[in-house]
């Protein structure tokens, strides 16, 4: 296995095989992968990173396929990272996004990589950010990350994107669902897809009115209505994305800050898990079961013990 610096050179020269292998290292938490990244990272920063989120079935992949074609027609090299959920039950993943990226597959110069979420809450940003850097090192100027958009994962995607597109469909009418899902909190551009469905126009108007009334107070993101399946409205979306890109106002400082904090928290959390011995945890479980201690004071005490006992941190190296 070559040295990290040599691997980084190969990627910068356009070696896709090496790039793909290093992305796998990052996914697996292999330290060599991160060493490669340390050589690559200083050379990144010029690519434009688009995040696409929304409920399953909203049409994210189809939209991304159309976007890839549009950007390729503009002469840009495109990279796509599609994140799919890992089955908690079996640990396996079925990646189906490539099926809908048919046109993107046919264009030269599009690198598509599927990544499993692996149930790692908050941690997917770590692997996806690394993959973005590698795709940029390969020469991709537009990097699109597609993420499963329920619960907390949209927040991750804003950490690693210059612009986030949140995709809805006209049948997303239940207001409580919208509020619960938190999907409205993150998008810089909101898309209503599947405008080819019957009644779509009326429902889209209802949705827009809802947003105007109950949406975020600070500002109202532009809404683009389109039909990815029919290829209608895509130029509008590209226009909005380009507006954002040329605007330059992407909040990079804030995102870098949050990314660093998120990575630090993740490292600490991994460390803590490796420090707690199994019999220690079992005795804690017993104390809580027998109501001798409550879980809150017990965990606070464990944290002070772990932090004070410096030698524990060293022993586990």
């Amino acid at each position: 296995m070559d040295e990290p610096e040599r691997l980084a050179e190969r990627i910068l020269e356009g070696d896709e095989v090496t790039a793909a292998k290093v992305i796998s290292m990052i996914e697996n938490g292999d330290s060599v992968g991160f060493e490669v990244l340390s050589f690559i990272f200083p050379k990144t920063g010029l690519s434009f990173r688009i995040g696409v989120t929304g409920s399953p079935g909203a049409g994210k992949s189809t939209i991304i396929d159309r976007l890839a074609v549009s950007y390729a027609n503009m002469g840009r090299k495109v990279g796509i990272i599609a994140i799919d959920p890992t089955s908690i039950r079996t640990g396996g993943t079925l990646f189906g996004d490539r099926i809908r990226l048919k046109s993107a597959e046919r264009i030269g110069g599009v690198f598509i990589r599927s990544m499993a979420h692996r149930g790692f809450q908050g941690g997917i940003a770590k692997a996806a950010f690394g993959a973005q850097c590698i795709l940029e090192a390969l020469g991709k100027e537009i990097i699109i990350v597609e993420s499963v958009g329920v619960g907390q994962t949209e927040l991750d995607i804003s950490l690693i994107s210059d612009v986030v597109i949140t995709v809805f469909t006209p049948d997303f009418g239940d207001e409580i669902q919208l509020m619960k899902a938190g999907l409205l909190d993150v998008g810089d551009i909101l898309v209503i897809n599947k405008m080819d469905l019957p009644d779509a126009q009326k429902r889209a108007t209802d949705f827009e009115m809802y947003l105007a009334t109950f949406g975020r107070v600070d500002w109202h993101p532009p809404i683009v209505k389109l039909s990815a399946r029919r290829g209608e409205g895509i130029e509008d979306l590209v226009k909005r994305i380009e507006e954002k890109r040329l605007d330059g106002e992407t909040n990079r400082d804030e995102k870098i800050r949050r990314l660093i904090l998120s990575l630090i928290k993740e490292e600490i959390s991994k460390k803590v898990e490796s420090l707690l011995l199994r019999d220690e945890i079992e005795s804690l479980v017993l104390e809580v079961k027998e109501k001798k201690r409550d879980p809150y004071s017990l965990s606070r005490e464990m944290v002070s013990r772990i932090l004070k006992e410096d030698h524990r941190w060293e022993r586990r190296e």
Partner: protein, 132 residues
């Protein structure tokens, strides 16, 4: 993040339009804990090789119901060699007469699964071959 995983591409090359078998296998392998990329229909061998490279899969499984398994497999193996890819295992499944099994194995295929092979056996053998 952290555990090593087995990743496989289930691909449908050529004009063959029957994808039920491929989808059943893809789902079964996922249930068995693997990461499975499904290619979709009508992919060229070049596209399949590109997918295998980009996804850094450990194995490529061709699902072929059209009878064209020998020329398609040969082409896949040639293209992989051309691109310098030597570390991916190759499996072929579908409508495959038993007399063709040794021919495919001779070419370098690591496992042949004619239609009717029980799914548990397919999974077991794939995991065995990838585990080594």
């Amino acid at each position: 993040m952290g555990e090593k995983r087995m990743k496989i591409l289930i691909a449908k090359p050529g004009l063959d339009g029957h994808d039920r078998g491929a989808k059943v296998i893809a789902l079964a392998l996922k249930e068995a804990g693997m990461e499975v990329v499904y290619s979709g229909l009508h992919k060229t061998i070049d596209q399949i090789v590109n997918m295998a490279i980009q996804e850094d899969v450990d194995a490529i499984g061709l699902s072929i119901m059209s009878g064209a398994h020998i020329p398609l497999t040969r082409k896949l193996i040639e293209k992989l060699k051309e691109r310098g890819i030597t570390d991916k295992k190759i499996f072929v499944g579908g409508v495959i007469p038993s007399r063709d099994i040794p021919v495919l194995e001779e070419m370098g295929v690591h496992g042949v699964f004619p239609g009717g092979t029980p799914i548990e056996e397919v999974i077991r053998r794939i995991k065995e071959i990838l585990g080594n």
